[in-house]
Amino acid sequence: MSGVRVLVGTRKGAFVLTADGKRKQWDVSGPHFAGWEIYHVKGSPADPNRLYASQSSGWFGQVIQRSCDGGKTWETPGGGVTMEPGQMPKGESNKFVYDASPETGKPLTTHQWYDGTQHPWEFKRVWHLEPSLTDPDTVYAGVEDAGLFRTSDGGKTWQELAGLRGHGTGPKWQPGAGGMCLHTILLDPSNPRRMHVAISAAGAFRTDDAGKTWKPINRGLRSQYIPDPNAEVGHCVHRIALHRSRPNVLFMQKHWDVMRSDDAGDSWREVSGNLPTDFGFVIDVHAHEPDTIYVVPIKSDSEHYPPNGKLRVYRSRTGGNEWEALTKGLPQRDCYVNVLRDAMAVDSLEACGVYFGTTGGQVYLSADAGDSWTPIVRDLPAVLSVEVQTLR
């Protein structure tokens, strides 16, 4: 019997929503880690019962949680203490320390600050966790201030892939309004050495050697809010997505503009087409149709809500440019929520399910690829992220 498990991160805890393959009756579990900000929860493709959650707080910092039973119980991985004579005890979990060793080349210590001066890199939180496609103990973490970490022991210890910050453009990166965060990590299912990441406000980057070296992949992006609109870095990329059957085709929701690349990010072209506004945060791809993509247009960077108070998902079946509004079941008046960058996902059941969460606490499901929508839950805390596991 197939089923789905929806992992929801919110401002005040995590929720696990489960249903069978019909996706009609839902069981809601949570809040887990009540009162904490849960930026992201994601399951391992290699072991669906292995989940990882990013738990953070302005008071108490970053905690990583792990579940080995599909979210029923959780633990802080590690927990062991190393004690050397004369030294302070050191717990190993939750520790994200930027690599400043000379062995990695030229680890950066500063980036551009709001006032144009250079500012030290300071760890704030984990925005996104991306488990390996093949190993449940290996997970990548995208963090603020922008950096990429990896664990290969199930979250017990984390090491920075410092080549990303060290590749040369790092001093030009600067924070967007939400902070300088690495929020998107795409693993190429056809090439274990290739990975894409996206950073606000720096742009998209790619490695072809498993994270050792990186290059910016922003050619074709045009951003009026930076001094050189065509600059190599500085673009506020909100989200990128790919279909596993065609990993060289990338789709991007930039601050403004919906973009497409057919060469793994080497060049981009705009596919905003007839969207009512091309500002937004989420973008995702249908599980079975690599040219069917979804966005949620948001009015503007000054007004983070849907145009005209109408919550509409837009679908393109042509890989961009031609878009149709999907409104059935979604509020078409007085709706002023936002849909944040990690808050859309798809399942891979035969009739592809599309899910998204709002800052108003609703999680919507379409069990017919977007034709109609229904809320699974209506009154959660503001939703930060939505991920879906298809269970078989």
Partner: protein, 98 residues
């Protein structure tokens, strides 16, 4: 025996109730208490003081005996009443109002 009172979220993270009791050898200081606390509850590492700098996190305070000890040097002796276990060391989260 040293008594430490943690804020709600850290009690839940460490799976403890109310007060935590710690046995210390040597001088009773902020650093010694936090070292012992983290050794016993490693999930608290990084939540009260920074992993690397060991600085107190900005929105936390240390109170005891009706005094704010947050700005005391980490190796300064804590009040005798804390050392004797008569009074707890309170780890307090800043109030979020508004």
């Amino acid at each position: 025996m040293i008594r430490v009172v943690l804020p709600y979220h850290l009690r839940r993270l460490a799976h403890v109730d109310a007060e935590v009791a710690l046995d210390l050898d040597g001088p009773v200081t902020q650093r010694a208490v936090l070292d012992a606390l983290e050794a016993r509850y490693p999930m608290l590492c990084g939540t009260i003081r920074d992993h690397v700098t060991q600085q107190r996190r900005p929105f936390l305070r240390f109170f005891a005996c009706e005094r704010d000890l947050s700005h005391e040097p980490p190796d300064a002796p804590l009040p005798d009443a804390v050392s004797s276990g008569a009074e707890p060391l309170l780890v307090i989260g800043a109030i979020a109002g508004g």
